[in-house]
């Protein structure tokens, strides 16, 4: 099995290539005299983390990020579940065109609409508004969320609701009491994915939030890089790790929930 050995070696080599840029983040964050190269710290320290865990650096930006991303995830999921119900259960004339529009906007690069959105926010006086930014992020993640939620809902048999209707429940009651509990894992996955996407989004808050006190960690860490990144390498790495940790935790949660290995079967099918 010489082929097998070659394949293993190639895989190990690729893994090493992918690992290399990550190493610096970890080693530098614990190094009192960190440079740009990954190496074991000569002087192990936790002071880098202490230095960035202040209210102005690690505190408020993380809280802003939590408000924006958490709010966006909740709004997206609630709105998507509501919209998915008629799309999944009723015979509607506009269903196909609506779903095609949704599918089309799923692929739209949000970057391309940021200039008009900035104009809109100026007009509506929403610049520097956390709620406005949160709603915009919820809106841009809606197409994918509606699409996924509808697919999850299609998987819940209608016969269960029919029983509830016979007992006099309204469609919304049936949705809340019967359909939603059955598709809760799917809804949770949609919510977590949206949170991760919003947490990492840089361009949207960078354009819509100009007041440093309102900016989430994604933008604040970039300012930090501009101001201190060229000297305080260790602190930059430590801040990166603090900012990344929630995302990794949530990702692990989702991949566990989806049964060990996280796969995309079903999510991407033409």
């Amino acid at each position: 099995m010489r082929l097998s050995i070659v394949v293993n070696l190639v895989l190990a080599f690729v893994a090493l290539l992918f690992l290399a840029p990550l190493l610096w983040l970890v080693t530098a964050s614990f190094d009192a005299r960190a440079g740009f190269a990954a190496k074991l710290p000569e002087q192990f320290t936790l002071s880098n983390f202490g230095a960035v865990l202040t209210w102005d650096v690690g505190g408020r930006p993380l809280l802003n990020g939590l408000l924006i991303s958490g709010g966006a995830a909740v709004v997206t999921v609630v709105v998507a579940v509501l919209a998915a119900y008629p799309l999944s259960r009723y015979q509607l004339r506009f269903r196909r065109p609506f779903l095609y529009t949704i599918l089309f906007t799923t692929g739209l690069p949000v970057t391309a609409i940021m200039v008009p959105v900035y104009g809109l926010f100026v007009r509506l006086n929403l610049i520097d508004s956390l709620a406005g930014t949160m709603l915009f992020m919820a809106a841009t993640s809606l197409p994918m969320a509606i699409w996924m939620t509808k697919n999850f809902m299609d998987g819940v048999p209608v016969s269960l609701e029919e029983a509830a209707w016979v007992d006099g429940a309204s469609p919304m009651q049936a949705l809340r009491r019967i359909v939603l509990p059955l598709m809760l894992p799917g809804v949770a996955v949609v919510a977590i994915f949206n949170f991760i996407a919003a947490w990492g989004n840089f361009f949207v808050p960078f354009v819509l939030l100009l007041d440093p006190a309102k900016q989430p960690a994604s933008v604040n860490i970039f300012s930090f890089f501009g101001e201190h990144g060229m000297v305080a390498y260790g602190q930059l790495a430590a801040y990166s790790i603090v900012y990344t940790t929630p995302v990794i935790g949530l990702y692990l949660l989702v991949s566990r929930a989806l049964g060990g290995g996280f796969t995309m079967s079903g999510a991407v099918k033409a």
């Binding site: 840029p21 610096w24 391309a112 990492g200 860490i221 970039f222 890089f225 995302v247």
Partner: protein, 291 residues
């Protein structure tokens, strides 16, 4: 009539929030994009308060400007290099190679590749920035091997951002292809093996035709994703040096927000959307010509 009214009451209230949000924040801005690209809208000054209709002027400026031409070309190179060839190829390679490997090896390789993908975009950019820096890990390794290092972000900026995007995005294609490959019926490949086809021919003539639709869908998704990449390039090179990495999103940002030319910036956004549409059409057509 009464029945119709009742039906509207059944679907309209639950649909209303999504229609309002999508209309205001997604469809509205796209429509405004298409309109404002034909005006001289600016951030400040008279043109900010009373934008005037300037017809095709923005587009005339756009297509006669060397800036936009160069950016458009860079964007195409960036998409072809980092998404179509890089992420797609590396993702496919990893997925194929990881088939029938031991659980441990699959787990380790998969986790490392996915880790680069899970990182927030800005953090991924920092990691690559440090890696490619003059005093970074890559040069240290090259130095230890007796090879000379250089300031990669300065000497080979486009190569650096392409590499960064491959590093960050390959996991998605890998996951998509792992899922697709696991659904290829094994009797097909086994039959080909019995007929004496080697692994390369088995992949090319048996596996690839089966997962063709997934390949095209994946290409479409990663292309559109890559067209919108901003933070990665902005952190690594800010479009420089000498505008060698100024793709359309960075040019749009520069014109609209640094120079206040909202109308012109919007016209660039329209070009970006059009480029996305062209790529999508090519992909969709390639699906239709299926035998």
């Amino acid at each position: 009539m009464a029945r119709n009214g009742k039906r509207v009451l059944a679907w309209l209230p639950p649909m209303a929030p999504s229609v309002v949000l999508l209309g205001l924040f997604v469809v509205g801005p796209i429509a405004w994009c298409l309109y404002a690209a034909f005006t001289n809208t600016a951030l400040t000054g008279i043109a900010a308060r009373r934008p005037q209709f300037v017809g095709l002027d923005n587009f005339k400026n756009l297509f006669t400007s060397a800036d936009v031409g160069a950016s458009l070309w860079l964007t195409v190179l960036f998409v072809l290099g980092s998404a179509v060839v890089g992420q797609n190829g590396a993702g496919m390679l990893l997925a194929v190679f990881m088939q029938r490997r031991s659980r441990v090896l699959r787990g380790i390789v998969g986790t490392i590749v996915v880790a680069a993908w899970v990182l927030p975009e800005v953090v991924a950019a920092f990691a690559v920035y440090a890696f490619l820096n003059t005093n970074g890990t890559l040069n240290e390794v090259l130095g230890a091997l007796g090879l000379g290092g250089q300031n990669w972000l300065y000497t080979a900026p486009l190569f650096a951002v392409v590499l960064a995007n491959i590093w960050r995005g390959t996991a998605f294609s890998m996951l998509v292809y792992q899922a697709a490959l696991s659904e290829v019926p094994s009797d097909l490949t086994e039959a080909a093996e019995v007929d004496g086809a080697g692994p390369v021919r088995r992949f090319w003539h048996v596996v690839l035709p089966v997962i063709r639709r997934t390949v095209v869908t994946n290409l479409m998704l990663i292309t559109l994703q890559t067209l919108g990449v901003f933070a990665l390039i902005f952190v690594l090179t800010a479009g420089g040096p000498d505008n060698k990495t100024r793709t359309l999103p960075l040019l749009m940002y520069e014109q609209a927000f640094k120079f206040g030319q909202i109308g012109y910036g919007t016209a660039i956004a329209v070009v970006l959307l059009a480029l996305g549409a062209v790529f999508s059409l090519v992909y969709i057509r390639s699906l239709k010509t299926e035998v």
